[in-house]
Amino acid sequence: MIAQIRADLYRQRHTLGTFITALLIVIYAILIVGFKTVGGVMVSATEKPLEALDNKSWSILDSIHAATLSSTVLLYLFIGLFTIVIGYEFNHHLYKNTLVSGLSRLQFILAKYFTLVVNFIIFMGLYYLTAFLSALIVQRPMGTSVGELLLALGTTLWTTTFFVSVIFSLAILVLIATSSLVISAVFVVLWPILIGTITLITNWHWLEYADFFGVANRIAFGLIRSDQLFGYIMVSFCVLVMSIFISTMLIRRKEL
């Protein structure tokens, strides 16, 4: 499995799309911080931080918060990485080479999942690093102590990476179930919008547990109480385990 992750990362290093994604992320982070613009797919519970950012001059911490609020757009850029890591293989039946090399189906799914996680860590790290450096370059004040800033960055990075990885574990499941890269990409785009919209219309607040990106944002802004945090994490973790398990079962039964 480690060998497969290394092989995928090697392939990514030689794929232009990886660098284009990195470039777009850097530009996006610079635009957010440089032009003090916040955007993205936001459905619930982030109005307060948005209002707070609207009515003040930004510090570096505010810039990081703005980057967090705008990070939903990264989901769309991550679809490109998803395509490179697993989608292309499914579209071109290249998984045959991988699967006849001795990798089990579970190892295959886990390798793809963890390759995506490595990607999210790297690209999220790049995103926040760019936001931080951009704010530093335009000489914004720190806004807090360096320790607290690093803590905020660390919390944001792990929560976003984890919850984004849950969405993409479901995208892997959709890809294997439908064999369609388009459907799985559409799924990634529609999932947060759909969950948010249904929650707004029906007032089914339990659906917020499935608004993975929203949960990540609310954790980053301290909008989820520490006693509620465990529940959100456990629900997401269970979804992650289930999607990997079902993906493995599906691919075992699939005519490849």
Binding site: A3, Q4, A7, Y10, T15, K96, S101, L256
Partner: protein
């Protein structure tokens, strides 16, 4: 030399109502170049997909390199395969494609990649992107990928499809070298039967999902009456002499003619053997056997040619 590399017991595969494979029993021994022959839809690719685990097995048992297909652990890492068309990452070069495979197999030596590239004759194309390769070159890249990790067993599904005549000859030579130099056992399917005949040591004939015949090249030659056709005045005496010489695969055609299967004795040797013992030799000629004719006759026997 009779160690089993692959054994299929009562293997069946169904797609909905369509019975793709029906109670297949076959075995491939170490050192074999086993040719799987059949018309389109006979079940060749399905069989190979089952062996490589790309399709779930409905019924029966597949033992590959000592492991049951339901619980492969190491067997697949000891095989190389091209199933249907050879696939590669189009935007990566030949070298990068092989590097991906090398990392997957835990190979770290650049020399192994270079050896595979040289082996399939793609040295000049090592920095060419896969999408810019011709079909023949892609087939070679597929073969390089399949042989990179020094597999014990190679499974090739229609590997010479789309190759030009020169490419076919080169591919045949590559397979021969793999079999003789690297002791790789090979399971191969193709529609180009003349090529299969030249490269293979055993043949399995699939028709409508059933394995209708399995035989060695010597047996095929004997059944096809291919080999040395010797015309003598006394076939009984000649037969005794052949027996005494340890030549077992020959067929007495009539009271003057015997066919000795290919590869058992040279014509000069045969002539000397018979003449020295007082048998009058009128003629020794080489009788060619045709795999195409044999295959067509076989499926005619099944009463299925429309």
């Amino acid at each position: 030399m009779d160690e089993s590399v692959l054994a299929l017991h009562d293997v069946s595969k169904r797609f909905g109502h369509y019975q793709a494979l029906n109670h297949i029993n076959m075995s491939v021994s170490r050192g074999d170049v086993y040719a799987l022959i059949g018309q389109n839809g006979a079940g060749k690719t399905t069989l190979m997909r089952l062996i490589t685990g790309l399709a779930p097995l409905n019924q029966g048992e597949i033992i590959l390199l000592g492991e049951n297909a339901k619980h492969y652990r190491h067997a697949l890492s000891r095989i190389g395969a091209i199933i249907e068309t050879p696939v590669a990452f189009d935007k990566l070069t030949v070298l990068q494609n092989l590097k991906v495979t090398a990392i997957q197999h835990g190979l770290s030596e650049q020399q192994e990649i270079d050896d595979a590239i040289n082996f399939v004759g793609l040295k000049e194309k090592r920095t060419t992107k896969a999408k810019q390769l011709s079909l023949g070159q892609r087939q070679r890249l597929g073969l390089a990928t399949a042989v990179l990790a020094h597999p014990d067993f190679l499974i090739l599904d229609e590997p010479i499809n789309g190759l030009d005549p020169a490419g076919i000859i080169e591919f045949r030579q590559l397979l021969h070298r793999l079999n003789t130099e690297k002791q790789t056992t090979i399971l191969i399917s193709s529609h180009i039967l003349t090529e299969l005949y030249q490269v293979s040591t055993r043949f399995g004939f699939l028709h409508q999902g059933a394995l209708i015949k399995e035989l060695t090249k010597a047996e095929l030659d004997a059944e096809n009456q291919a080999g040395l056709l010797v015309d003598v005045d006394d076939v009984n005496h000649a037969s005794q002499l052949l027996d005494q010489k340890g030549i077992k695969q020959f067929t007495v055609l009539n009271d003057q003619q015997i066919v000795i299967a290919e590869g058992q004795i040279e014509s000069a040797q045969l002539n000397q053997l018979l003449v020295t013992a007082g048998v009058q030799v009128n003629a020794i000629t080489r009788k060619a056997g045709s795999l195409e004719d044999y295959f067509m006759a076989l499926i005619h026997e099944q009463g299925v040619v429309k």
